[in-house]
């Protein structure tokens, strides 16, 4: 029984990847490809956030700072040094991981609401620094001049098709890794903490260490998403690290389903698709998006995947508690 779920996840991932990579062979649609590229970045961002929100019950309002940091670290490394793209990307993720560790160290001891506030405050401070440190970051104009040397293992990332393939592969592998973490005993621990922290601590779990680990991992994957975002815009801009962007990830998680692993991915897809379609027809995008969100919040009352699971429950695994701490 042990290896099965991991194998199943890997198979699903492989199939998804093959389908996504196959589509351009039949039909080239630049808008669809741009959509997938952006979705890759956002899916990693939102899913990493859900490691905190859905799994550990830690609502972070400032997650965007790691997304933005990943983008800036990557773009700056590419512009200022001669390192190759894969090295720069890894370096950016490492920098983001370290930053997440430091920020987490001061934040995770705070309980829910205060944790949310302090992560928001740290993000706003970070954003402030980006805008002020104009000589390094370009300030509000962002890092300009593009990202040079966009090649990796034969992919020429200036070409949309190659960027599409690269992002799809990175996203699927990243999501698979997150899935593995989430389904592992560590993930179970996080959910236990979310459901009943005193009981979990009596079992010998050191709460703050588990939370710090979750925060750091989530930050790392958000940074990876940021690298993809930087490739899409060929630079890095402060808007990637701003509060509204953190909000976007939260909405993706809520719209797609906080209790489903793929919920954030679906939510991100819904938000992006809605944006792409609605902006073609009207400039009153806020009106439409606001109404859609109200419909979800008041009508479905759950994210889409959660709603579907509640409506059509699968009796595959015995539930430990009625709150359904496990994920399908």
């Amino acid at each position: 029984m042990k290896g099965r779920p991991a194998l199943r996840d890997a198979t699903i991932a492989a199939i998804a990847l093959i389908v996504v990579l196959a589509i351009p062979l039949f039909h080239r649609s630049p808008a669809f490809e741009d959509f997938v590229i952006r979705l890759s970045a956002m899916a990693l961002f939102a899913t990493s956030l859900n490691l905190l929100v859905g799994n550990a019950g830690m609502v972070s309002f400032g997650h965007g700072m790691f997304y933005g940091l990943g983008a800036y670290a990557f773009a700056l490394t590419m512009q200022m040094t001669n390192l190759s793209l894969p090295v720069a990307a890894v370096l950016a993720v490492l920098i983001t991981t370290f930053a997440a560790l430091c920020v987490g160290a001061i934040c995770v001891r705070l309980t829910t609401d205060y944790f949310a506030f302090i992560t928001l405050a740290v993000q706003m401070l970070f954003y402030s620094i980006i805008i002020s440190w104009q000589s390094l970051t370009g300030g509000d104009q962002g890092l300009r001049g593009g990202i040079p040397r966009r090649e990796i293992f034969g992919f020429e990332l200036a070409s949309q098709l190659h960027l599409y393939q690269f992002c799809a592969i990175v996203a699927v592998l990243g999501l698979l890794a997150l899935r593995h973490i989430s389904a592992s005993p560590f993930g179970q621990t996080l959910r236990m903490i979310r459901d009943n922290e005193s009981r979990t601590s009596f079992l010998g779990v050191v709460l703050w260490r588990a939370r710090l680990a979750a925060f750091t991992i989530a930050g790392a994957f958000a940074g990876l998403g940021g690298v993809l975002a930087a490739l899409f815009v060929s630079g890095a801009y402060p808007e990637l690290a701003d509060w509204p962007n953190s909000g976007q990830a939260i909405f993706a998680v809520m719209l797609g389903g906080i209790n489903s692993f793929l919920g954030p991915v679906l939510g991100a897809a819904i938000l992006l698709a809605l944006n792409d379609v609605v902006t073609r027809f009207t400039e009153y995008y806020g009106l439409v998006l606001g109404s859609v969100i109200l419909a979800f919040a008041l009508g479905l009352r759950h994210g889409v995947l959660d709603f579907l699971r509640l409506a059509w429950p699968q009796g595959r695994r015995p539930k430990v508690s009625p709150e359904a701490g496990d994920e399908a």
Partner: protein, 412 residues
């Protein structure tokens, strides 16, 4: 049997095209679509809406004259909300999916740079930047792109022209102590620094007693205003604009700020002038757009036409977008093609006749940015034409100092 096949195929095709519909847009066969993106919402929506208004007027004018290469033109407008990722996505969508054959980028700040990257990556589309005033967009060889051009005024041109005027004015009125108050972001900081640099060249005994840097969109300027008043400058230079300028004026009036110091600001657009109640007279201001400057019938006619159509006055952004279309018009006629490289070759060095030129013409330089547009400084009055005693800037001096500045920045 064959009928069933045909129907199924048709249904499948119809289904597929419905699915593809969100990402595919069809154009009328002959229409020439021109993509335009800008900020159409939020606090500086005026930038986008006044740009769009001017372009709609150009669309009518050009179509009445037969369009481009005999094809009617049609604008596709998009709102990026000032977000660079969205701006990049929109630029790509306009070109790749919506079938636009020309681009007008009316974005500002980071979004304009994001679009520039897309234009450089695509390489196959001509783009005119109409609202970004940052010099590096064209001056910095790492940022400039072969098929991207800029018709917006440049911060450095304004800084030279403004400094010459203000130095003269300051010398005449013996205003040696100045303060600055500009929004704390790249435009505010860089442009203020430029003004001060040139100002000191023309008036070496100027003393900056204090500087204030409110945040863009900051609702409350009180502590900034009292700080400024306390430093007792004789004059204040500010780059605040639009809603911020209005709030600053209103809050400044509460402290009688304008009675205590002369104020100089380049950013007084018509709608701002009209919207700010209790505008103090005697503010030294640049002309962003003024119907009476250049004082020609063509300029007045354009301003009046805009007012009549939109029931609002044009802004600086309006004339810049109109100018972009005038450049496209002439370039397309000259190159007889829409090919980006051909247009780029035509545009480089091109001179157009236009009501917005200081001498009736504006030239697109080899470095893809324009010179010769009307820049003037004068002082405000609460009534039409709002700015009077306008002095024309000396373009020879502007270009001379701009070149020096570019050398300093190591662009050349």
């Amino acid at each position: 049997m064959s009928g069933l096949m045909t129907r199924r195929t048709m249904l499948a095709g119809g289904g597929a095209s419905l699915l593809a519909a969100p990402w595919v847009a069809r154009a009328e066969a002959n229409t020439l679509r021109i993509g335009m993106q800008s900020i159409l919402s939020g606090p500086i929506a005026l930038l986008g809406t006044s740009s769009r208004n001017a372009l709609m007027m150009e669309q009518d004018r050009i179509n009445a004259a037969g369009g481009f290469l005999g094809r009617p033109i049609e604008f596709v407008f998009r709102d990026s909300k000032g977000q660079p990722q969205e701006a990049a996505r929109i630029a790509r969508e306009l070109v790749n999916s919506t079938g636009c054959e020309l681009l007008i980028d009316a974005e500002a700040s980071s979004a304009s740079f994001a679009v520039q990257e897309v234009v450089r990556d695509l390489g196959s589309i001509a783009c005119i930047q109409t609202n970004s005033e940052t010099s590096s967009l064209t001056a910095d060889p790492k940022i400039g792109a072969p098929t991207a051009f800029r018709v917006a005024r440049q911060g450095v041109h304004d800084a030279v022209a403004g400094s010459i005027y203000l130095a003269e004015y300051a010398n005449a009125k013996k205003l040696n102590k100045w303060a600055t108050c500009s929004p704390d972001y790249a435009y505010g900081r860089d442009t203020t620094a430029q003004y001060l640099q040139f100002f000191k060249q023309f008036k070496p005994d100027v003393e900056v007693v204090t500087d204030a840097w409110p945040k863009l969109g900051q609702p409350d300027f009180t502590e900034v205003i009292t700080k400024l008043i306390q430093a007792k400058p004789q004059a204040l230079f500010t780059l605040l604009y639009a809603g911020d300028l209005s709030a600053f004026v209103n809050q400044g009036n509460v402290y009688a700020l304008f009675a205590q110091m002369t104020v100089a600001t380049p950013n007084v657009d018509y709608p701002v002038l009209a919207a700010i109640k209790n505008l103090p007279a005697g503010i030294q201001s640049a002309t962003r757009y003024l119907e009476t400057f250049p004082n020609t019938p063509a300029n007045k006619e354009w301003g009046q036409a805009y007012l009549k159509k939109w029931n609002d006055r044009p802004t600086n952004w309006s004339w810049q977008n109109s100018l972009a279309m005038q450049f496209y018009e002439q370039a397309i006629k000259q190159a007889n093609s829409l090919d980006a490289k051909a247009l780029a070759a035509a545009l480089t060095g091109m001179k157009v006749n236009t009501p917005f030129g200081a001498d009736g013409t504006i030239t697109m330089r080899d470095d893809h940015t324009t010179i010769g547009y009307a820049i003037g400084w004068g002082q405000t009055t609460p009534k039409e034409p709002f700015i009077v005693d306008v002095k024309t800037a000396d373009w020879g001096k502007i270009i001379e100092l701009e070149t020096e500045w570019k050398k300093q920045q190591k662009y050349i």
